[in-house]
């Protein structure tokens, strides 16, 4: 068909939020935040600043970019958010073994040979270590770098220190976190006349709240800055989930003291078409037939398209549970639709919310029973209560800076309302136990549908090859003609196996 498999598989991108909260005390506030910039392997896409009444400006110094928020008289609790999308790529460098250790140094990198406060490259202990490692007699750059790197990975223990550990302390203690290891590598390089620097950034892990940053190193080789990470063992290569935020021994954040400053990252993995990724890196596009591109022309967002294209898979999961396992759920495709609602808040909070909403709804429905209202107005009231509850949760979530909860407004409200109504009827007509059982089944099937629909491998396949939808149809045809027992029927008819009591 004129395109290769790999060309159609979408790539990963990340959505990143900087979340800041602080309380002003009627005094000036100054917050400076390092922000990622484009380089040979990372592209920053949609940057958005969301903040209170503070003045915002961008400060660029050297290769770094900082966001600066200023206010003269700031009082009460304030929030600042800075969100962006990034595409980051894996890169590997091959260092020719014949490059001499003493390279011709460009003027612009001379400063990366000079000692710094935390990188004491001229200290006698660094010199001594250098000699001990045999770096003095090493002629080639590659050998020198291998020696230094292996010293850092093999001879230095990893200890999760807080705060800044300098090169000298690391050398003495023979243990450090990422920062200390990296600073010692840089010090050893500089001591041997090799330009090097530490860089800082974030390891991108989806849906994790973690304010910590990561530090690794870059060494100047033949005009290129080549990455090395002694902590996670990347020699002359950098994995796709590393986001570089600043060059040099900078801080991610500097802020006015005593303002009860709180900081967190929110990270979410997203898929992006190869074409988009190529455009971001200004590369030529491949030959792939890309449905994303088609839908982009009519302003359908990629996220929406992803939901739509994954829904048949969710429905297939529902079919499996109904026809093969034999679990009763509320509505036929409700679990698949509820699973879509879990996307924005994650599985755990999705299930918590599901439980909260249906119990609240059933309670409201029980209270409304006394009013003896007619069906449709009663449904409208339950819908309204569900919405009020979601808004309250969102407000509460935003207040305590818990953005997961703040996203609940997208939870499928109408579906939850219908679920509540069905639960109420089952409780009335059968009993509470049956109602809870069906609710638990619904939660289980929703969770499974969610997991299937959110699996990146499946998403990549479905989006890269929408033809797979035909396979989904084939699977449904097979299941639709399957005449075997449902699993729950073995339990139902177990009497046939155990036999009648008197015949035993």
């Amino acid at each position: 068909m004129g395109y290769t498999f790999s060309a159609a598989i979408p790539e990963e991108s990340y959505y990143l939020d900087y979340l800041i909260e602080f309380t002003g005390r009627d005094s000036p506030v100054n917050i400076k935040l390092a922000l990622p910039v484009n380089n040979y392997r990372q592209r920053v896409l949609e940057e958005k600043v969301g903040s209170s009444e503070l003045d915002f400006s961008i400060l660029e110094s050297d290769a770094n970019k900082f966001g600066v928020w200023r206010g003269d008289q700031v009082s009460a609790k304030k929030h600042i958010t800075y969100s962006l999308s990034v595409i980051t790529k894996y890169r590997e460098f091959i260092i020719p073994s014949d490059i001499p250790k003493k390279q011709e140094i460009a003027d612009s990198v001379v400063r990366y040979l000079i000692p710094e406060e935390f990188i004491q490259s001229d200290d006698s202990l660094v010199r001594l270590l250098s000699i001990k490692l045999g770096l003095d007699t090493t002629r080639f750059l590659l050998t020198a770098l291998q020696t230094i790197y292996h010293y850092a990975t093999d001879s230095l223990e990893y200890v999760g220190y807080k705060g800044t550990t300098d090169a000298l302390t690391t050398l003495k203690l023979k243990e450090a976190s990422c920062g200390g290891k990296s600073r010692l590598i840089v010090a050893l390089c500089r001591n041997n006349g090799i330009p090097a620097r530490v860089v800082g950034g974030k390891i991108l892990k989806s849906e994790r709240h973690n304010p910590s940053t990561h530090i690794w190193t870059e060494v100047w080789v033949n005009g290129y800055w080549v990455p090395f990470c002694p902590t996670n063992s990347y020699f002359a290569r950098i994995p796709a989930h590393y986001l570089l935020i600043y060059y040099g021994d900078e801080s991610l954040i500097t802020h006015t003291k005593d303002i009860n400053f709180k900081f967190n990252f929110f990270i979410k993995k997203r898929l992006i078409s190869q074409k988009e990724s190529r455009q971001a890196f200004q590369l030529q596009s491949g030959q792939a037939v890309d449905i994303w591109e088609t839908f982009k022309k009519i302003s359908v967002s990629l996220e929406l398209l992803k939901i739509i294209i994954m829904l048949p898979l969710g429905a297939l999961i529902v079919v499996l549970f109904r026809n093969i396992v034999g679990l009763e759920t509320f509505g036929i495709f409700m679990p698949a639709l509820i699973a879509v609602g879990f996307r924005d808040i994650g599985l755990f909070w999705g299930l918590v919310l599901f439980a909260l909403i249906i119990s609240l709804g059933a309670f409201v429905r029980w209270g409304l029973d006394r009013l003896q209202l007619m069906h449709t107005p009663r449904l409208a009231i339950i819908l309204t209560c569900v919405i009020i509850f979601l808004l309250a949760m969102a407000t509460f979530g935003a207040q305590i800076g818990f953005l997961d909860l703040a996203r609940v407004t997208l939870f499928p409200m109408v579906i939850m309302t219908l679920t509540v109504e069905r639960l109420s009827i089952i409780i009335q007509e059968k009993n509470l136990l049956v109602g809870l059982k069906v609710a638990a089944n619904t939660a289980l099937v929703s969770a499974c549908a969610y997991i299937a629909m959110e699996t990146h491998l499946f998403q990549s396949i479905m989006i890269g090859f929408p033809e797979v939808l035909l396979l989904v149809i084939v699977a449904n045809i097979y299941l639709g003609r399957w005449t075997g027992f449902r699993l729950t029927e073995y339990l139902r008819f177990k009497g046939f196996i155990t036999g009648k009591p008197e015949t035993k």
């Binding site: 069906h375 009827i425 449902r486």
Partner: protein, 297 residues
């Protein structure tokens, strides 16, 4: 020990070769034998009653129909004058939304399960039925008020409140399996197995009960009345079989479950015809449907 294992193995083989599961029932019985366009003939109780009556089958007398709030207001008086009746959603299934009123106590209505309903409660329930709360497709529905059947004395003795009925499964014109359904305190007087009624298997030839299940387990005596359930002769057995074999042709469906009630005064009546009869009847008879179905086809 070895005997038990051997017995379980035989049981397992029987289960796998004789018992009909939901998937197989749908694919091999319902879809080929019941044309979709004829489902309303039984799902809509009003149509069903008319078809059966035209074919000479006796059904409970309809006393009133409510399909809008307006007619409800007009019918309020009529309802208040009735001493006993059954209230049903026209498009309901599985006994959902059914209320049986045994007698009038001043301004209140006494249900078969002992619950007292005020006129307001009852009208609200009717409004819910009309709004489609109990209908299969949740669209608006009609509330049917019909005569309350009084169970035959022999069967009433076996049962705890409510109205026992006889379920016959018919394929084309051949009855293939039968079961007596007895309400219990657990089922709140309803004859639906899923709601906790007893299912008592009946020998097709003789109309004598053979085996009984309660909540999916075998038993021999009624949990509330203590009456023995095995070896009981069902009255009017021959007419039941005779009428059963006529009904599929009347409703245009070849695989149906028919619920008969033997009324104390007026005799045999068909309460309901079901196009998707349940499978628990197999356990009640300790017998799978597959061999008998094969014979009938």
């Amino acid at each position: 020990m070895r005997e038990t294992v051997a017995a379980y193995k035989t049981g397992w083989m029987r289960l796998c070769s004789e018992v009909m599961g939901i998937n197989r029932r749908n694919l091999e019985l319902i879809y080929p034998h019941n044309p979709r366009q004829n489902f309303p003939n039984v799902d809509d109780k009003i149509i069903c009653k008319r078809l059966l009556e035209q074919g000479g089958i006796s059904v409970p007398k309809t006393l009133a129909l409510f399909d809008t709030q307006l007619s409800l207001r007009q019918g309020k008086k009529l309802l208040e004058n009735l001493e006993q009746f059954a209230l049903k959603p026209n498009a309901g299934s599985g006994g959902l939304g059914v209320v049986l009123i045994k007698e009038k106590k001043s301004s209140h209505f006494l249900c078969h399960d002992g619950q007292l309903l005020s006129a307001e409660d009852l009208f609200w329930h009717i409004q819910n039925i009309i709004a489609g709360v109990f209908s299969l497709d949740n669209l608006t529905d009609v509330a049917i008020i019909e005569e309350l059947l009084e169970p035959d004395e022999d069967l009433a003795k076996l049962s705890y409140k409510g109205v026992p009925d006889v379920r016959i499964i018919v394929l084309k014109d051949k009855p293939v399996m039968a079961m007596l359904r007895l309400p219990t305190s657990k089922s709140k007087g309803k004859a639906n197995l899923h709601q906790g009624a007893l299912g008592v298997g009946v020998d097709l030839e003789t109309g004598v009960t053979t085996n009984s299940i309660y909540q999916g387990e075998f038993n021999t005596h009624h949990p509330d009345t203590g009456m023995g359930l095995i070896g009981v002769q069902i009255p009017e057995w021959d007419p039941i079989l005779e009428q059963s074999s006529k009904i599929p042709a009347l409703v245009g469906l070849n695989y149906v479950g028919i619920d008969f009630v033997i009324d104390r005064r007026s005799g045999l009546k068909v309460l309901e015809v079901n196009a998707r009869p349940g499978l628990q009847i197999q356990l009640a008879n300790f017998k799978g449907l597959r061999p008998v179905v094969q014979e009938a086809v």
